[in-house]
């Protein structure tokens, strides 16, 4: 067998990228097919039903649930302001009445005869979806959202935290193997997507938050630094909703590890361009990796695309990255693909491949422990 399927991360200087931008519930699409949109433009919006405030009126006014209905001063569907009387008991011969004033604003939704529970629904909350990608609207999904297409430089990271953000690319490191430390982060990097080389330290991320950077991209990160920054130990890799002041994307993995030189050079070649970055990572079925998307300008579009391999095929000569110890992080190319299973040092049997590293050395690695560098 000369080839096998090993998915990898996509790193390419030019590709046609499509992104689907959908509302969580039905709403209104604000753009039409053929429109050119900027990343920060709102393309669809809707209103989520407001928060629900349940009140046990039966307990609040000390009366049987069945009596609550006739003591209500508002009908179902009525608007109510904070401080406005909502219900009043009949009292004794009209005296000693107890009143309940609403503490919240909203609409009276239901009054239960069984439990005496009253539900007040708060004001509807607007939900907006931004374009995220600068490009052309190629499809409108009525009431749901749009599909936007653009020619971009596209880089997938391996892990990230924080959600969608935008900013110009700024190179903070001079080479792919330079550590990204706090002193390399300067105040003029406000709103920028800062690119480091090797590992990024916790202090550097803290400094980036302080200067107001949009995102930090680096080769690796120490688990301890991630814990210090987040304030907790991340149990499962489902991220994107962290509110930590910026988005972080690492391209290779955890530990002292360099960014792949090709990735670094590609980012450096796009310095100054606006990038859309999303740290959301979901490592489950339907895997989602963080990404850096840099739309190409008219000028860039004239350039040639680089030669690239068919995606997903493990073939002789293909660049691969080892993703497990003892060779973790090393990059090389496939030099042999033996078909028979080999006994590993662990005692397990597995299919392997031979990788020739940049140093000229070769090693047999389980096929499960490499990933293609796709482009």
């Amino acid at each position: 067998m000369a080839q096998a399927y090993t998915p990898g991360l996509k790193v390419t200087n030019r590709t046609t990228h499509r992104t689907k931008r959908l509302l969580p519930i039905s709403g209104e699409v604000l753009v039409k097919k053929g429109d050119h949109v900027n990343a920060r433009d709102v393309v669809a919006e809707t209103f989520m039903p407001g928060d629900v405030n349940p009140l046990n009126m039966s307990n609040l006014l000390s009366m049987p649930p069945a009596d609550v209905h006739e003591c209500m001063l508002k009908k179902e569907g009525d608007r109510i302001k904070a401080g406005e009387p909502l219900a009043r008991t009949k009292g004794i011969f009209g005296m000693f009445r107890t009143e309940y004033k609403s503490k919240v604003e909203g609409t009276l939704e239901t009054v239960s005869n069984v439990t005496g529970q009253v539900i007040i629904r708060g004001a509807a909350q607007p939900v907006q979806v931004k374009a995220y990608l600068t490009g052309e609207v190629v499809e409108v999904i009525p009431k749901e959202g749009v599909v936007i297409e653009s020619e971009v430089t596209f880089i997938q990271g391996i892990f990230g935290i924080g959600g969608e953000t935008f900013g110009p690319i700024r190179m903070a490191c001079k080479s792919h193997d330079q550590e990204l430390t706090a002193e390399l982060i300067t105040p003029d990097m406000k709103d920028a997507v800062i690119v480091g080389g090797a590992r990024v330290t916790d202090e550097a991320i803290e400094k980036a938050v302080k200067v107001g950077a949009a995102a930090v991209i680096a080769g690796g990160m120490d688990d301890q630094d991630l814990r210090d920054f987040l304030g907790y130990d991340l149990g499962v890799a489902i991220t994107g909703s962290e509110q930590v002041g910026l988005t972080v994307v690492i391209t290779e993995g955890f530990g002292d590890i360099h960014m792949a030189e090709r990735t670094f050079k590609l980012l450096a070649s796009r310095e100054g361009s606006d990038a859309s970055v999303n740290g959301a990572t979901q490592i489950r079925a339907g895997v989602m990796r963080p990404e850096i998307v840099i739309p190409l300008s008219e000028e860039d579009l004239k350039s040639e695309t680089e030669a690239h391999f068919e995606p997903g095929q493990l073939k002789l000569g293909r660049p691969v990255r080892v993703i497990r110890d003892p060779y973790f992080g090393l990059i090389g190319e496939v030099s042999d693909l033996p078909s028979e299973q080999h006994v590993l040092g662990s005692g397990s049997k597995a299919r392997v491949l031979e990788v020739k590293f940049d140093s000229g050395e070769t090693a047999l690695i389980p096929r499960a422990n490499v990933e293609l560098i796709e482009g």
Partner: protein
């Protein structure tokens, strides 16, 4: 679905559509008995770009067809039915956990009573329970509503009140769910199924609370009286809703449902089914575990009472970082008999989490991964024991004789001394390079007491057999006995604690191939060869304070089964304790590693 006549079934095709892999097996009648003959697998195709689960099924079945020389798929890509000569299969059945399985939210009035019963019903049906809402769950009503809004379950199960009991509290629960308008995972077209299995007198009132956005099904109360659970109707309704709603919305499942000759079951529900069948027919107590990448499922049947728990976020790849965080790295490393750099390990754990399909290449990486597995299994079993309890809220009659042994409701029914069979499945257990490693991982984390047979599911066939048991229990049992279980052997373990090095018990082993007598000191572990299919009579004379099932110090004699590992005599005591001091601990673990012949060839690199 055509009617099945068990007598005319000679070829059975079964698939399990998992989140990542679809596994197919072929069962054929060989010399009058059913045997599993071939297996194949292919990536599951439930997600884009394929978005049709039947493609993965056809690929996996095609592989089985190629291996068996039997044409199972016709030129149009349809399964051939019935069997005719060398073509086709008589019946085709399937289970599924693709797309994240069945995800449910359950609600009840009292967390420890009706809500607990509802959770048991949902778990028993094979669901992942996302949250349990109860009147007394310490959350305020608006927090509960907010939580319901955030969840995106496939369906909801509501219970509450015994028949003739509270109606107000039950309706109150419904009134929390209705305004939250829970959104389903699949599309906007999907109507949220809600099963009501509470106080029958409140059913009408509950129905009035919901509008057309909820598809309400009312079944018998799952806790009609406090003293009894009646989970069957709720479980059946969950299975029906699973097919009608969840499966019908998963890509390609409408087609797949037309192919199968029995309803598609959620994978864990099917595993529970086969374990209950075995426990009932052999009159034994069973614990089964399936440790996956993201979750660990534990199943138990004690005195015919079935329980299942899913420990979400205890797993060996996606959740490995969570295992280390929950157990603590010091608890993981206590199983490792050499020094390891903790910072380096933490990075490795995170790298496994973000690249979950990698495998340990070196012996050191394997030993660490097996240490993590012990902790994941230990934590999952603790959760299971806490969940599998006698019913809470039951009034108990006591006599004077009970004064000193007062038991309250809610005691765990898991009793390791009564456990007869412990079955392992899941990658780290099933694919360990040596089965000795599988056996010791089971013993270290489950801590069986007395006499316990250890086995593993050879190729994760239990789901297939679980659904097969529904239509052809004879075939399911024959295959379970002959091909599904690989017996590792028997563990004979002392309950009690003593001083290391002091006598714990003496033993006499009499068998055709094994005849031994001797004494085991406290803290020692000894392995005897007793191969697959062999048995031996073991007599244990415990020292004072040690119990093997007949009481402390009482003699016990039992026949034990051999297996690929053999007979393990475990004098380490229960609960299993390791020395506090690191040097002493490492040397103790090293002694056990040698006794169990765990890693005979310490190789550092790949050898051809």
């Amino acid at each position: 679905m055509s009617k099945i006549d068990p007598e005319n079934i000679n070829v059975i095709l079964a698939t399990d559509c998992g989140s990542t892999t679809t596994k197919a097996i072929l069962i054929q009648k060989v010399d009058g008995v059913y045997r599993q003959t071939h297996r194949g697998e292919a990536p599951t195709t439930v997600e884009a770009p394929f978005a049709d689960v039947t493609m993965g099924v056809v690929n996996a079945v095609t592989e089985v067809g190629e291996l068996s020389g039997r044409k199972l798929v016709d030129d149009d890509g349809r399964l051939i039915h019935p069997a005719n000569g060398t073509d086709g299969a008589d019946i085709y059945i399937s289970t599924s956990s693709a797309g994240g399985g069945l995800q449910m939210m359950v609600a009840g009035v009292v967390a420890e009573m009706t809500a607990a019963s509802a959770k048991r019903a949902a778990l028993g049906a094979g669901a992942i329970v996302m949250d349990v809402i109860a009147s007394n769950d310490r959350r305020r009503p608006h927090e509960q509503i907010q939580r319901i809004r955030e969840l995106r379950p496939d369906m909801i199960l509501v219970s509450g009140g015994v028949d003739g009991g509270t109606t107000t509290h039950v309706v109150q629960i419904a009134e929390l769910i209705a305004p939250a308008k829970p959104q389903p995972r699949f599309g906007t077209e999907y109507t949220m199924p809600l099963i009501y299995a509470g106080n029958k007198e409140a059913a009408k009132l509950v129905a009035d609370v919901f509008d057309e956005s909820i598809d309400l099904t009312i079944v018998d109360n799952l806790r009609p009286v406090l003293e009894r659970e009646n989970l069957g109707p709720a479980r059946d309704a969950i299975h029906d809703m699973f097919l009608e709603h969840v499966m019908a919305h998963a890509p390609g499942y409408d087609k797949l449902m037309g192919w199968t000759h029995a309803p598609i079951m959620p994978t864990p529900g099917a595993v529970g089914n086969i374990l209950q069948t075995i426990a009932r027919l052999q009159n034994i107590n069973v614990v089964g575990v399936d440790i996956g990448g993201a979750t660990t499922d534990v199943f138990s049947v004690f005195d015919e009472v079935f329980n299942r728990t899913v420990s979400a976020n205890l797993g060996m790849s996606y959740s490995i970082s969570n295992v280390c965080a929950e157990a603590g790295m010091e608890n993981v490393l206590r199983w490792v008999h050499f020094d390891m750099d903790e910072r380096e390990l933490r990075n490795r754990v995170k790298n496994k989490m973000i690249r979950p399909t990698t495998i340990p290449q070196s012996q050191e990486a394997l030993i660490f991964e097996q240490a993590v597995a012990r902790e994941a299994l230990r934590l999952a079993y603790i959760q299971h024991k806490e969940f599998a309890t006698t019913l809470k809220g039951v009034q108990q009659q006591r006599t004077v004789g009970d004064t000193f042994s007062q038991q309250v409701g809610g005691q765990t029914i898991v009793n390791n001394m009564k456990l007869d069979l412990l079955v392992a499945s899941g990658g780290v257990l099933s694919h360990a390079p040596r089965m000795h490693q599988t056996a010791i991982m089971l013993v270290d984390s489950f801590e069986p007491e007395g006499f316990t047979t250890l086995a593993k599911d050879s190729i994760f066939m239990m789901p297939h057999l679980g659904v097969l048991a529904e239509v052809h229990d004879k075939a399911a049992l024959e295959v379970f006995e002959r091909d599904c279980l690989v017996y590792l052997g028997t563990c004979v373990a002392a309950k009690g604690l003593g001083k290391v090095g002091k006598p714990c018990f003496s033993y006499t082993i009499k068998g055709e191939t094994l005849n031994e007598t001797g004494e085991i000191a406290f803290g020692d572990l000894k392995l005897f060869p007793l191969g697959p299919g062999e048995t031996a009579m073991v007599t244990i004379e415990p020292k004072r304070g040690f119990d093997f099932g007949e009481g402390p110090g009482k003699r016990v004699q039992r026949q034990v089964k051999g297996g690929t590992v053999g007979l393990i005599l475990d004098g380490r005591g229960r609960p299993l304790a390791l020395p506090e001091d690191m040097v002493a601990r490492q040397s103790t673990i090293e002694k056990w590693v040698e006794a169990m012949e765990l890693y005979p060839e310490m190789q550092a690199a790949v050898t051809a």
